[in-house]
Symmetry: C2
Amino acid sequence: MAKKEEMQGLTVKKEKDFSEWYSQIIQKAELAEHSSVSGCIVLRPNAFQVWEQIKQIFDKKIKKTGHKNAYFPMLIPEKLLEKEKEHIQGFSPEVAWVTQTGETKLNERLALRPTSESIMYESFSKWIRSHRDLPLLLNQWCNIVRWEFKHPKPFLRTREFLWQEGHTVHETKKEAWNETLNILKEYEDLMKNYLALPIISGMKTNAEKFAGADTTTAVETLMPDGKALQLGTSHFLGQNFSKAFEIKFLNEKSEEKFAWQTSWGISTRLIGAVIMMHGDDKGLVLPPKIAFNKIVIVPIIFEDSKTKIVKKAKELEKKLKKFNPLLDDREEYSAGWKFNEWELKGIPVRIEIGPKDMEKEAVMVVRRDTGEKKQVKIKELEKTLDRELEQMQKELYKKAHKFLDKNVAEAANSSDFQKAIKNGKMVHCFFCEDEKCEKKIKEETGATNRVIPFNQKESQGKCGYCESKAERKSFFAKSY
Amino acid sequence: MAKKEEMQGLTVKKEKDFSEWYSQIIQKAELAEHSSVSGCIVLRPNAFQVWEQIKQIFDKKIKKTGHKNAYFPMLIPEKLLEKEKEHIQGFSPEVAWVTQTGETKLNERLALRPTSESIMYESFSKWIRSHRDLPLLLNQWCNIVRWEFKHPKPFLRTREFLWQEGHTVHETKKEAWNETLNILKEYEDLMKNYLALPIISGMKTNAEKFAGADTTTAVETLMPDGKALQLGTSHFLGQNFSKAFEIKFLNEKSEEKFAWQTSWGISTRLIGAVIMMHGDDKGLVLPPKIAFNKIVIVPIIFEDSKTKIVKKAKELEKKLKKFNPLLDDREEYSAGWKFNEWELKGIPVRIEIGPKDMEKEAVMVVRRDTGEKKQVKIKELEKTLDRELEQMQKELYKKAHKFLDKNVAEAANSSDFQKAIKNGKMVHCFFCEDEKCEKKIKEETGATNRVIPFNQKESQGKCGYCESKAERKSFFAKSY
């Protein structure tokens, strides 16, 4: 058992070796595991639970605004996938193909969906006849396969992942554009107020947009290793797909028109973002709003008071039901071992109850993020927990935001720019929006344009790389 | 518009042409649609909503008993799938294989999961070391691909479907057997008390059991066309897989033992069962407990009282929020058209509100299953709805149970047996449990053994087919 205790915690500091820290936390907090198919991971319950929380939060949001869930086949015939030219060009190198069933060779290869535009829009074209059928607001929670050859990283880049893909169809350009932005706002809210992730948001350049979209908008953040991570995207598809898939409707004047569309998604990569941003040298730190078990109760067991203490702990478990408490009354582990275990697994608040606390009708409340410990009367416990959890949620965001602010650098010229990227910063500067300059930046620094924010105040400046005239600022960084 | 109204309803009676009725209800109630991949369907929101309700109900049940959700990769290397011999023999003719990614041929074929025993148990063997790691109680909600060549039927038999698969690991045989039966009981409760489906349940014969199981238990029902439908299965796997995948643990005496396992599942086929069992000549009938929108409010709009009536309808919508009401205040459709539409789509209760009702501070309440219509004071509405929905839930079950009872026949010999099956009945009779007799029954009548019920009272009789000595009764029927 001594050996097990030694093995229990992380053996490397987040600041010292970020990559090894990430591997250890994933293994030791039992979040994920590599499978025997390279690039595909097992989402273990501790991680899947976070995804279930995110699903619940976002599903509620979109249902409130009239979206409905559906499920479309995972297999897409090759011909169908090819209908929108830019789209297939973007995805074809990454498609996994089913070519046989049993011992029979198929006549046409079937793609595992890399995204569902083509299979969905084939149906949409049959369903939509009149303006009365619009808007169509659908969403699907499903698995996706993209056979990427970049280095896989659990959650952030895997060949199969889980996501949500929304697909909407509208009468007018304006409505579709509003939908694109409304969803972007919902994503912003999800990241900031639930995942406690500070974000940058805006539109993508042409070079970085989704294959087949008119405009891609995105929410991103910066990871502790200086790489940007795309958290969610909302695409304004214009009429590109409605023309390829013949999604037409009769308007009120009985004129036939092509519809306007959007698509948008977030994926299990969000779990990776949360681990990286909030985790510390003791393990995972879960923002309370996405932690299923918000507290763990650990009775401090001595031989003479065991029965009483465990009984009290069980009473507390019942009383605090709304926090989905874990009760760790295992006798074969020491209290210290349990503290380490639940810190490793990121439970937001620990409640310790020992004989001395019990005499005072009190417990010890310990916060995961700060380690702060205080004695709280049992009758005030629920209120205190509400407050502490809310406080923790806010402070995690604040801390992460401070990190982002500290790591965004300005740049007036290519030398500034290069230095900043080299030092693991994100660059925020005026950008000429010339594709050649964008390509040069990528070649010379490894950074790409992350987003061009909306509603910028200044409108005159010089490109932070080539120094030519520029009208809008952009964010640049290396990225996952 | 006249034309549209004519097209709206079902044009065939359930009793006259069951198969065409099923096709029409699926299309006209917008439940599903064939896709361009043969045997794969689109689950449209009206059907997916039912699946979401079932998921929510069952997920809550299993979480209460300590099960946790996880997600394992969809792709399984061929070698891994082959580890348990009976298992692969059962599934290999139906496996869809990925052989290429992009333009690259893979070294080893990857199966789309036909079920996840092999990929999960590879991980289990790494996670489980000690009796302290047991029981392991996992579940996964996911998509499954089985390339069957029988005639596909929406929901009941499709090449891709959605399901839940539970997989548990235990120290002792007894614990695993108890888990098998506990889950069977949860399935029974789900079918009877939520889906309003009458059931038979028990164990499968060797010929009918799951490939790789020691014992398969199942819950089944009888469809209106005289075919049995398997609704859910719970398998006692014994040590078959733990030996093939080396799932071993050290017990309290530090002896190495192979673990005992179970697996169990229900799928989107349940949606088909509900449609078939409860639907009528007007369309879908949804049991209230699995209907997301339990009521629809239809204001009866006349030009002079329009504003008032719609305002009142909106007030009701707010007041009745807990029933997730639909409000149909579209002006371009007549009240009659709307009634047909929501009957077609199976909304359990319709509330009509017209000027005369309003004068009396009342509404008309119409039940979908009986067509019964009554005036109810608004102040009593919530209570009345609670009662009517509960009543409807019970009566649907009763009605379906009557149907089952009426269609179960006894048999004392092969001639009785053959006649009953020919007449679309399910046979309940003593069975010798001889594999040869079972095979003969299948060849001569097309019927298979559905289940051997547990806890039978009588224990002596003669086989209802071959007339030799028998100890237990069985159910036989043709099946989907």
